[in-house]
């Protein structure tokens, strides 16, 4: 009787496949694109082996972590221009403190840096939630501040870390090698755990909910400020992890402002290509992580093709605009068909 008002009922198999494609298709597509790109890359260079896999995996770690950091904040309906700054600050701090320390101490420092970054960015999230200053302004300011402090901590590139910490991220105590296991684990485990936390716990879902419709979320009992702070804090934690990974990969810290700005830009690009909608509530951090690696692999591929690697910038920009245009048109269509 009331079938017209009481909505979609459970569907058949074909419909649920279609639904899976519609919901996870973008994320799956991003990873397929990545595999295709790498597959193509193997045909472009004379030799593709464990060394190349290790190289791609370990060097894309900071982009992956930063994409996760930006991803959670964008899902919550915000944006974090300071993420790159926090990565640089963590990188510099870790490198300055770890130099010459025994392995156990460097691990403790790494944990402390990640926790500190989470606390710091959680405070940023609190400022945004409470002051109602636009997030762009607040995080632009934190981009200034974080990089400034990074320069104070480590006035010029330098510092170091322990071989053991390097091993954890790169698979080798010297940072160079063919053992790709640890790097792949370092990509996969945090990404999947984080995605599961976001979509399966009440706290994680509350981050999606405030990005989707913060008023509705508030009315259904979500503590909006707390969720916002959690989003920025976890994002900060991943930015800190990106900084630690950078320290491990390079065995040094680099406080330059450029690194911070590039980090932020790359993370935003990854989030957009990864299918996380600016405005919040939609998308998966898994897609963002894949997109982070894609943008990282563009340069070597272009180089292998004999094209100026600077074209990677152009491609990155073009892809972002294309994705956003498509998203904009889809949204317009949805509005029109309501």
């Amino acid at each position: 009787m009331s079938s017209e008002t009481s909505a979609p009922v459970r569907r058949g198999r074909a419909a649920s496949v279609r639904r899976w494609v519609r919901r996870r298709g973008w994320t799956a597509g991003v990873w397929l694109l990545l595999l295709a790109l790498i597959g193509w890359y193997t045909t472009l260079i004379p030799e593709f082996g464990e060394f190349e896999i290790t190289s791609i995996a370990k060097n894309s770690l900071p982009s992956v972590y930063l994409a996760l950091a930006q991803g959670v904040v964008v899902i919550s309906g915000g944006v974090d221009l300071g993420a790159g700054g926090l990565m640089v600050l963590s990188n510099s701090t870790a490198a300055a403190l770890m130099e010459g320390q025994p392995p156990e101490v460097t691990v403790l420092i790494a944990l402390a840096v990640v926790a500190g970054a989470a606390l710091l960015n959680g405070f940023v999230g609190w400022v945004i939630a409470v002051s109602r200053i636009p997030d762009i302004v607040v995080t632009l300011a934190t981009l200034f501040i974080f990089t400034g402090v990074a320069l104070m901590v480590l006035p010029s590139p330098g510092g170091g870390t322990s071989g053991q910490l390097r091993y954890a991220f790169t698979g080798s105590t010297t940072g160079i090698g063919t053992n790709f296991g640890p790097s792949l684990i370092a990509i996969a485990v945090p990404t999947l755990l984080f995605a599961a936390w976001l979509t399966r716990t009440r706290t994680g879902l509350s981050i999606y909910a405030i990005g989707s419709d913060d008023h509705a979320a508030y009315l259904s009992g979500v503590r909006v400020v707390r969720a916002k702070v959690t989003a920025y804090a976890t994002g900060g934690g991943f930015a800190g992890l990106a900084g630690v990974a950078l320290t491990a990969i390079a065995n040094s810290g680099d406080p330059r402002f450029d690194n911070a700005v590039n980090g932020t830009l790359n993370s935003l690009a990854a989030v957009v290509l990864g299918g996380i909608l600016l405005g919040g509530g939609v998308g998966s951090v898994v897609g963002a992580a894949g997109a982070g690696i894609i943008f990282f692999t563009l340069s070597p591929i272009l180089t292998a093709m004999g094209i100026d690697p600077n074209t990677a910038q152009v491609v990155r920009g073009g892809v972002i605009v294309a994705v956003m245009v498509v998203a904009g048109l889809l949204q317009l269509r949805r509005w029109r068909t309501q």
Partner: protein, 514 residues
Amino acid sequence: MSSAADRDEMTEASDAVGRTALLSAREVTKRYGSVPALAGADLTIRPGQIHALLGANGAGKSTLVKILAGVLPADGGTVELRGVPVRPKRPADAFAAGVATVFQDPTFAPDLTVDRNLRLAGIDRGRFAGWADRLRLGGLDLDAYARDLPLPALRLLDLARALAHDPQLLVLDEITAALPGDQVDLVFSVMTHWRGRDRSVLFITHRLREVLRVCDEATVLRDGRTVATVVPGEGGERRLVEPMLGEVVAQSAAGAAEVPAVPDRPSERPEGAVAALEARSLTSREHLRGVSLRVHAGEIVGVVALEGQGQDRLFDVLSGNRPFDGGELVVGGEPVRPRSPYDLVRKGVVLVPADRLHALLPRQSLHDNLASALYNRFSRWFSLAADEQALVGRTVARLAIDTRAQRQVRRLSGGNQQKVAVGRWLTAGFRTLLCFDPTRGIDIHTKEQLYQLLRELAGDGAAILYYTSELTEVPLVCDRVLVMYGGVVVQELPAAAADEATLLSAAHGLQEVA
């Protein structure tokens, strides 16, 4: 379910109620800035009672609900639940204290699935499933995104979720407005079942018939105060309406006397006269199923309908704010297919939207607001109109707008804001005015000014299409009236025949018997 004897007992024992009450709110006050919304409201709900909260627009109902639900803090007064003072700081606190509210707007996050929305709120799945079955949502796909669900399903989901909180007090704010009849019955059966478990329901509605049907007691608010507690059924609807309206009835009667009656105009027009605005079988998704209407220069055509009969979409389409799917829109004899409101504004068809916030530039000055429609085309971008001052001055004078708080129009009173919404078209000029419920929530004096203004405009040759949610306005303002139901115009009446009863029955889709 409760007998008449029960009811008598209730009213007599109203003093004792304070101790045994499930919810007892005393002298609750709340101000927004300098505007009082609640000036000492009392509400007592006994266990096992369905209690109605009534009042005209702006009486403070929704403010009181928000305070009970923890959305807003009260400025003063006390709220006790089973004798324990409660002061929820946020909705989560209210749930925990035993008050679950179904708000007017859906509270499922649109981009999450139903299932995840439930997990988000920490809902016991078994309990939810029980209530969902009872509300005939058993077949609902829990893995569907909330945004893909139709509004009635969302309302029932909200209700099932609220029930799954297992609250002492269930607050239902206008839940029946968006529901078709069979689902309203479901809601009522759940409400009575809830009462049977010695829990209570606070029911907010505009439909007095529903109050008579299910409520045991009703609290009436007026101007932020509790003015009466009545037992529905004793004296029918009238008993409920009187305290709601209070002096307004007298005022509006007096006001009606001042406004001259609609002059008798020949209802036949010359054959083949070109309508200022004509819709021919307009369709738009499920909202409009073929609307045809004509508005001629010099007349005010009223539109009345219950909530959600497609009137919003009709005005959206007629103003060019949304494209239509089928049919024809004809302006001054020429068919148009507008891509944006601009295409119709150029042809003189302009909209005063329902929500004043859609018509105002809240942080701009009065002057800039009134002049805003002058500069919508490229050719006028590079200077200011030479006669801007004069045009705006004329509008201010004609509308008698209070110009004191003119730095930012968001500081103007509601009535003055509504004048600005109309005023920007007086400045820029128009041929056809689409007015959507312009008098909602404004004071009686401004209302009369608006009636007067619209009549003058029509006298000057404007064509006006006027939707109103207040049926009593129709004979005061309109020449004839169209009744919409289910996305089509079901009836047309001359204003003289459009008394409230006739309009209401037509608006419910009941054809005239005579």
